[in-house]
Symmetry: C7
Subunit: 71 residues, 7 copies
């Protein structure tokens, strides 16, 4: 049995895809997280309707809006 | 009497269907969960309007958006 | 005076109707619940706009989306 | 000074009107409540757009969706 | 410095206006409140689009939907 | 480092602008607040689409709907 | 591993971009934050649809509406 936060922990320093409400997605290297599923991504790309719309060195994504995280 | 989390626990390593708000569904093998109903699925498929739209080795689905889980 | 959870408890093993936000309903035998009103139904039917749209051996319905439960 | 839950308590066994989000209303005899304003109504009627659309022996109405309760 | 609940407390037995989400308003004499801003109003009037649409001897208004209260 | 509530505290007795969800704004003198960012404003003006639509001696604005507060 | 709040802490006195629900963005110097991700920005600019629509000496942005923060 794998707890969701344990899966996040194993994904540290790996590429993850984060799907949010409102058709937004973020792709980047997982630098950290907290128990609310707030995430830190580095070398992040914002994806709207399957297109990269923004690139950012680092972002903090609020966990509230997460639909799923794919390590 | 079966507590919801006990039912999830018995479904570990079994195929589950997860219906989310916004007409999204996920199908996969349940690898884990936590008390917020955050779920870990492996060999997951995303289903939008009855079509498989994405396949992912593993996803963490946030419990907030769950409508129902069918083991 | 009847506490809501006590009414749920008396409905165990009985047929219940669960009305959710978004015009969804579920009908089935109540197998369990927790204090968040997450429910376990067996022999469940999904009802959308008064039509049975799905049958499932068992589902966990998240309490967040419940409008009412009728035992 | 009348605390909201004390007013609910005095309304036990009396007819109440419960207005919910989404233009739904319920009318029935208040059988019970809890601190989340989850309510138990017996001989309940559902009212949509000022018409009685359903009658139920008993319902548990989730407090989350309540706009107001009129004893 | 006036804490919001202290202002509510001073408004007991006075006429208040309560503006809710969804263009609803209530006007009445404040009979009570709790820390969630659930309110008890007596001689209450419901106001939709600047018209009085309902009169009620007493209502419990759920604090969740409050935008503002004007004593 | 300035904690948000400390900034609110320094704004007591000063004019503030409060922007809420749903294109509503309030302008007034900050009389108080609590840890939920519920606010007390005196000599308050409601602003909808850049027009003053209402004036009130005092209002309690619920913190839930706040987007930002500008001291 | 970088906790989200630790990343915010390192961004104190630096320029940040805050993306909110509803196509709103704020840009400014991070003066402070709290564990709810409520933020204090100075020399803040509001950005709607990629245009600067307002400039404010200081704002408190409520964490609830945050989608991401980019230091």
């Amino acid at each position: 049995m794998l707890k969701p936060l344990a899966v996040l922990n194993k994904a540290i320093n790996q590429q993850v895809i984060v799907e949010l409400k409102g058709k937004r997605g973020y792709r980047g290297t997982l630098d950290g997280y907290d128990p609310h599923m707030n995430l830190v991504l580095r070398n992040a790309e914002e994806i709207l309707d399957a297109k990269v719309t923004r690139k950012m060195d680092a972002i903090i994504v609020r966990g509230d809006n997460v639909i799923y995280i794919s390590p």
